[in-house]
């Protein structure tokens, strides 16, 4: 239970929709799309969750970039510090992921903050995971760069998502 939120939030279906509401100027649209898609596949690979992108209306997971006061009760803090946040599963703002656009997000560079890594962490929250105190876990609260091209989900995170949703039935 250490993996879940205090109220054990989870999606009641394994078919989850997402929508990218806007984009950061730091990267191309294709790079943002690719980063988000790969971040979701990190979780799909080890669980029964399947993600479908929609381009209008309200998705389960609404993904957006904003700065300072950006429409919820948790303002961002400018460069560095807090990079992003996300809400556990549920209606409306629940499940959504917000990225602080005062950060410099990157696709593959070690400069700035790698969007794929930050998104994979935040989407873990959008699926119901809380923070891990395992420094090697993706769900550890502090950012650390690892090469996205060789990224493999740490065991602690696999245990967490499978505690909530079970294993991937397709493997």
């Amino acid at each position: 239970s250490r993996f879940t939120t205090f109220d054990n939030r989870k999606w009641q279906t394994n078919q989850v929709t997402y929508r990218i509401e806007n984009y950061t100027p730091d990267m191309s649209v294709a790079e943002v799309d690719n980063s988000i898609e790969r971040a979701l596949q990190v979780w799909a690979k080890v669980s029964p969750l399947r993600f479908t992108r929609i381009y209008s209306g309200t998705a389960d997971i609404m993904i957006s970039f904003g700065t300072r006061n950006h429409g919820d009760s948790y303002p961002f803090d400018g460069p560095d510090g807090t990079l992003a946040h996300a809400f556990s599963p549920g209606p409306d703002i629940e499940g959504d992921a917000h990225f602080d656009d005062d950060e410099y997000f990157t696709f593959s560079s070690t400069r700035g903050y790698n969007l794929f890594l930050v998104a994979a962490h935040e989407l873990g929250h959008s699926l119901g995971l809380s923070h891990s105190n395992d420094p090697g876990a993706l769900m550890y609260p502090v950012y650390s760069y690892t090469d996205p091209s060789t990224f493999s989900l740490p065991r602690d995170d696999v245990n967490g998502i499978q505690y909530i949703y079970g294993p991937n039935p397709d493997v």
């Binding site: 948790y74 946040h85 962490h121 809380s130 923070h131 105190n133 502090v142």
Partner: protein, 78 residues
């Protein structure tokens, strides 16, 4: 070397950090006067979470951890 006390800036940073991530609240009522302060207890809770030496005080490694870029979701549940 003598340990340098935390700066005013570190104190403000710590207060904001502990409120945001470890549910530090304004101390009121009897708990405000008894035993280690809530602030000290919350520093210890943060040090325990991150595997730091648990001192309950704003030592250098604790302040360093508080300055690292991170996710904005709290580390403890309400």
């Amino acid at each position: 070397l003598p340990i340098s006390p935390p700066t005013e800036e570190d104190e403000v940073l710590a207060e904001t950090y502990l409120k945001r991530f470890f549910n530090l609240t304004e101390e009121t009522g009897p708990t405000a006067r008894r035993g280690p302060s809530q602030r000290s207890r919350k520093v210890s809770e943060m040090q325990t979470f991150f595997g730091l030496q648990v001192t309950g005080t704003l030592d250098a490694e604790t302040v360093t951890m508080m300055k690292k870029p991170r996710c904005g979701v709290p580390d403890v549940q309400p």
